[in-house]
């Protein structure tokens, strides 16, 4: 088996590798070779085993079986530090930077230049600047990482990898948090890394990106390797077929008709939070899907947070169901609001707690009397909600962090489904979700609208906004730049408004 995949150029070869977690076979009998100077993409559904494969190479997990060879020699990667020493580094699906430290310290972490045991800051700065120059990725070395936008933070991670003399770099869904033009930039960078002789492993659910950036594409399904082929012979349709095991279908379900001009469920008037957004006017009717478009940083999530009560405003009004809306988040949830926040890890999940508790948390009142929980009723409700989202999991009592990224996202949908809210705010609801599951999330959103829920959809994917919204409100620099619907609602109009600067 090993001979069939290895060849003289292979930097890293996996032969017959498998990984089990308890009863779950995350990977079985994987044989794959990664070559220097090539971008090798991994595609597959949520839970297919892509991240697990990367984690085996990075020493985060150890294989249950099979061998890994570097430059033709068998190696055992005992821990992350060992992987680093071998030049195997990862850009994590969720970034792992020190937010309060500056760019330089983050890049140099663990590799500071020292003299007589003390850090030589001048020499360290020079080393950091050298790496920035060599790869033409310049950042202010003294900027605090937590203040940087996501795209820049990612560059810090990449620079850190490069400064460690990486030979193989794994990108696990690096564009999931980026706006389109930033993603384009990153893809250029990845090509440059390959040109500089690095082996790159690229994991993504964006098939167009994959086709654009990679040399070789491997499809994984249920922990098995389905195919490894040159990117030149693949198309969107062959990849979708490979990933889902089904033929290609249109991504977007038919939308229910837009509601007639009824009274809006939410009406936002002149809402202002100084320095964040200004004079926002916005309405969502029951049964209507309103897309909130704009560039990353335009203030979309902030407006959503303000409506949800998670961000204080300076002036303006929010009406819900014809009545002025005030009070804390709890009150708004009780009135029928639900939010799927942008960052599942920071704002939504309790990774160390059971899936069940993660789903039920905002609605415990329904399953309790005088604070006493009726666990049977809770479990029944959660089971139904989880089944409706096609989440893949072992048991509801498993910890949330045993789920793959996309299945973690489905926890949030299951949570919202239990609430049966009247207004659902979905902020980047398909982040990290595979093509098949995306379609089911789109169907879920369309179905909720058909049942009369008002939906405010925030997305950085223009196709998602176009394919799913009755009406689109475009924000630019904290102001409403355009409200588009009907014939005026075109991709071009949305993009122009987004870039208009308010």
């Amino acid at each position: 088996m090993a001979d069939s995949v290895a060849n003289t150029h292979s930097l890293l070869t996996l032969s017959g590798v498998s990984k089990h977690f308890g009863g779950v076979d995350a990977l079985s009998d994987i044989s794959i070779a990664f070559e220097a100077g090539k971008v090798h993409a991994l595609v597959g559904e949520n839970g297919a085993g892509k991240s697990t494969l990367g984690k085996l190479i990075l020493g985060i997990h150890r294989p249950s079986g099979g061998t890994i060879a570097l430059d033709g020699k068998d190696i055992s990667i005992e821990e992350p530090a060992a992987a680093l020493r071998l030049g195997l580094v990862g850009i994590a699906q969720e970034l792992s930077l020190m937010p309060r430290a500056n760019v330089m310290d983050n890049i140099a972490l663990g590799r500071e230049v020292t003299r007589r045991g003390l850090v030589d800051r001048a020499a360290t700065l020079k080393a950091v600047k050298d790496v920035m120059d060599r790869y033409d990725m310049r950042l202010d070395p003294f900027a605090i990482v937590g203040d940087l936008p996501m795209a820049e933070r990612q560059k810090v991670e990449i620079l850190r990898a490069l400064s460690r003399d990486a030979r193989l770099i794994i990108f696990d869904e690096p564009t999931a948090r980026l706006a389109t033009h930033q993603a384009k930039q990153l893809l250029g960078l990845i090509r440059a890394l390959a040109a500089a002789g690095k082996a790159v492993i690229y994991v993504s659910h964006f098939l167009d990106e994959i086709l654009e950036v990679s040399d070789t594409i491997t499809v994984l399904r249920n922990g098995r390797l389905i195919s490894t082929r040159p990117a030149s012979v693949e198309t969107r349709a062959t990849l979708v077929a490979g990933v889902t095991g089904q033929d290609y279908q249109s991504q977007f379900p038919p939308l229910p008709p837009a509601p007639a001009d009824g009274a809006p469920l939410v009406r936002v008037r002149n809402l202002t939070a100084k320095g964040v957004f200004e004079g926002i006017n916005l309405e969502v009717r029951p049964g209507e899907i309103v897309g909130l478009a704009g560039l990353v940083g335009a203030g979309r999530s902030e407006v959503a947070h303000a409506i949800y009560g998670a961000l204080a405003v300076d002036s303006g009004e929010i009406e819900f169901d014809g009545k002025p809306l005030t009070g804390p988040i709890r009150r708004r949830i009780d009135l029928g609001m639900a939010m799927i926040p942008e960052s599942r890890r920071d704002q939504a999940l309790f990774l160390g707690r059971p899936i069940l508790e993660n789903i039920a948390l905002p609605y415990l009142k329904r399953f309790s009397r005088l604070s006493w929980l009726n666990k049977r009723a809770e479990k029944a409700s959660v089971e139904t909600a989880a089944a409706n989202t096609a989440m893949k999991f072992g048991a509801l009592s498993d910890r949330a962090d045993t789920l793959s990224g996309g299945n973690q996202q489905k926890i949030l949908f299951a949570r919202a489904a239990i609430g049966r809210p009247r207004l659902l705010i979905a902020d980047e609801p398909t982040r990290g979700v595979d093509v098949g599951a995306k379609r089911s999330i789109y169907q879920m959103i369309a179905k909720l609208a058909a049942e009369g829920e008002a939906i405010l959809l925030i997305s950085s994917e223009i196709e998602e906004i176009m394919g799913l919204s009755h009406r689109v409100v475009v924000l630019s620099r904290g102001r409403v730049a355009a409200q588009l619907q009907g014939a005026a609602l075109t991709e071009k109009a949305v993009i122009e408004a987004a870039f208009s600067g308010g």
Binding site: F21, Y308, D346, Q347, F350, R353, L361
Partner: protein, 312 residues
Amino acid sequence: MQRAMNFTRTYGILIVTVLMFIALALTTDGFATWRNFRNILDQQSTVLIAASFLTIATIAGNFDVSVSAVYVTAPLVALVVENATGNVPLAIVAAIIAGLAMGLFNGIVVSRFRINSFIATLATSFMFFGAGYLVSDRSLMRPVSDAYPMLARSQFLGLTSATWVSFAMVIIASVLLTQTRFGRNVFATGGNPEAARIAGVNVPRVQIATFALLATAAAIAGVINSSRSLSAQPSDDFSFVFAVLTAVIVGGTSIAGGQGAVWRTVVGAFFLAFMSNGFNLHQIDPIWQRLIEGLVILIAVGIDAWTQRNSR
């Protein structure tokens, strides 16, 4: 293999405690006797009462050093009232109100002003110790009624009332944590405060409640201690909180928050109690006891960290 690993990780401290129990029972004269167990239970009662509720506060992501100060000061309040009125129930109520007030103060300082809980409660400790000196006029206090000493010393079904109170408090803490909405909110608050807030949990209120419960429990433990020793004395002795914290940590509740259980703390407390009881029965020099105890705590924490890493 994986399953065995998970099992050891979850029940490791329980297994070790049971093994030690068996070893001591087989090798040590006077260990496996009813009399000895009754004494151990009685001695552990004050630690268990406070540790059950420190577990809750720890899971909510906070630490409370002022447990010692409340433990010292609340019984002084009780005895001042008792000396003045001779009314024991009133004395208990006064101590509980004092504990509750100190806990609310801690909770408000930590949650509203967002001060690190360790530092905030270190500061409030000195205030509470100071209050103890004030109410007692810096002197040792003794109960005047015959009823006060009986609070901890009455016998029921062969166990002391102190033991029964500790059982009740352990059960209350455990039920609160595992069977109520409040318990879920505690885990959420400690596990990911921002996600808890977004999910509609009133994070400051949960934190205040955990501090208030803990200080109330510490006040009850203090009253029991004073009833047992027939006196209370103002001091600024921090040792109680460390005994309590050790039980929580050895049991395996994570100081990072969001993870843990009351049963763990109970097992942790008995692990430590059996160990020191074994030392005493073997007449080992107390200096060596300390050294070995420290080592065992390190090993317990080390094993925990090791299994956590290797389960990945």
